[in-house]
Subunit: 324 residues, 2 copies
């Protein structure tokens, strides 16, 4: 399977690592809108994005490693006109409209596209779907963290007087325990997660104002119990340079004549590197997309449409003999 | 979707409950090799197994609720000649030959069959496949319990002087912790699980001999740390009548340039009723089998071949909008 990477930030680099770890993947190149000489890969050839079209016959699946806010809504439909593509579009509310645009483009040009792949949306979505289909009389909960939220860290950095910041999303353990016990609690936003902020301020900045601006920021922090800790740039560099994340999807449900039996299904992830894990999911699903294209399947798909067997380099016989 | 149940033990009864809980399922009947008047369902009509053929046009999927040791190897290929079928064949080593026989029978008659559905094989297999495809540089572990093993309980009951018994399979917590920490330990059978036996002996029986016979029984107990506790029939009836089970599939793996980042994927189940949960899985997959048959798909399938979207009563649009 011949893969190329479009965009080379943290996710693009993670995808390069994941592709190198997969024995059946040939990495054709990294395509970037920056000058190729400024992009330092782990060995994969770098080309300018403008050269991409000339690779149309050399790439089976193009993995688009770009942001959901402004890049992917334009990029994925455009690139699906020329390539089979995979993206990690993660703005949950806009998935239906993104799907429609990508589907139209892929069907028109006779390609296949997978959107919203990764872990949430992605593997967490798959966990929600399996468990809700199995336990229709039940309720599911998604907890994120402990992990770094890039979006929330960026929001803090935009405050006047802030030099740098890291924000951790932390699940409330009491809420996780109540869910696991099958109590099916109604949980508010505040009861599910807390937010820990580590902030490097400019010398002489008004720390009280910064803390107040963080804690009252609508959508990002106002609905949460938020703690703000001011640290030095050295401490930030020493203690907070990783990009860990994770979380869990828990569904509890009842079966029996009168719902007398309780069941708990839990899917959890503990990740040292959020972008490298997301990239590993993208590469596994790119394998499925390549196979489905060769079977004649076209149009936009999501992780829900992919049979697990298509993700594995092993044959159907090997899977049945060793993994079932 | 019109479903019928073949066989009415614990699993058959669980399937009746699960089918009643699914809004899109019509339960056509329970078919039994016993006299219908001796089978007490929760309301579903009961027919003798010999009447099954006359229902050929009235059943979309037949769920076979019978044992793997002697029943399913004969039943599933035979029934796949007349019906779309789902079974829970769980003798891992014999899955490839069972698959071949069922596949031949289903292809010849133009039906679809799903074998080895449930939670292990079944959802645990799916968890192993997803996580190994995502983290190729890793290792997975399956722990079962704490839960009742029917096979081990039966083995104890066959010992002279034993009136009744319950055997619990218990995971070794230290092993689970070592796996979660990403140490990728090599674990022997003894290091992964212990076995707890609760035994009701005949009055005057030689308890020391019974305990020795249990602990030295090859395959079942000899390779495990086993504890034997003699209890009264009353205590057994009071404390040990449930059929709880569960377990977890954990895969740890590495990503990055030099495998410098660790990741843990864990899928766990905690079940009050093993047969009712298994039955809930069977009904969800029966929905997929019905849809795939209507799309023209024939032959034998496993859980690996089923796209998650086909398990849910929700439409593709609803799934993308609310579950992705």
């Amino acid at each position: 399977m011949r893969i190329a990477i479009y965009g080379y930030g943290n996710l693009g680099k993670g995808t390069e690592c994941a592709a190198m770890a997969a024995e059946d993947v040939e990495l054709v190149g990294v395509f970037s809108r920056r000058s190729p000489e400024k992009v330092k890969t782990l060995g994969t050839p770098v080309y300018h994005a403008s050269e991409l079209e000339s690779f149309a016959d050399k790439i089976d699946v193009l993995i688009i490693c770009a942001g959901s806010a402004t890049d992917l809504p334009e990029m994925t439909p455009a690139l699906a006109k020329k390539f089979n593509v995979v993206d990690s579009f993660d703005t949950h509310a806009s998935i239906p409209s993104h799907f429609d645009r990508v589907n139209e483009s892929a069907l028109e040009s006779g390609h296949i596209a997978l959107i919203s792949c990764g872990w949430d949306p992605g593997m967490f979505s798959v966990a929600r779907l399996y468990s809700s289909a199995i336990l229709p009389q039940g309720k599911d909960y998604t907890f994120w963290g402990r992990g770094v939220s890039q979006g929330h860290s960026d929001a803090i950095r935009r405050i006047e007087g802030v030099l740098d910041a890291r924000q951790y999303t932390v699940p409330v353990e009491a809420a996780v325990s109540a869910v696991r016990e099958g109590k099916m609690p109604e949980l508010s936003t505040r009861e599910k997660h807390t937010r820990e902020c580590y902030v490097v301020a400019e010398e002489g900045a008004d720390l009280e104002r910064i803390e107040r601006e963080i804690k009252t920021m609508p959508n990002y922090f106002a609905d949460y119990d938020t703690t703000v800790t001011f640290i030095s740039e050295e401490e930030l560099k020493r203690e907070h340079m990783g990009i860990p994340h994770g979380g869990r999807v828990i569904r509890t449900g009842k079966t029996g004549i009168d719902g007398e039996h309780n069941h708990v299904i839990e899917y959890s992830l503990k990740l040292d590197s959020n972008p490298e894990f997301t990239a590993s999911v993208l590469v596994a699903f790119a394998r499925a997309i390549d196979r489905m294209y060769k079977r004649g399947i076209r149009g936009c798909k999501t992780v829900f449409d992919i049979a697990p067997a298509d993700l594995s380099p092993l044959s159907a016989e090997e899977l049945r003999a060793h993994m079932l």
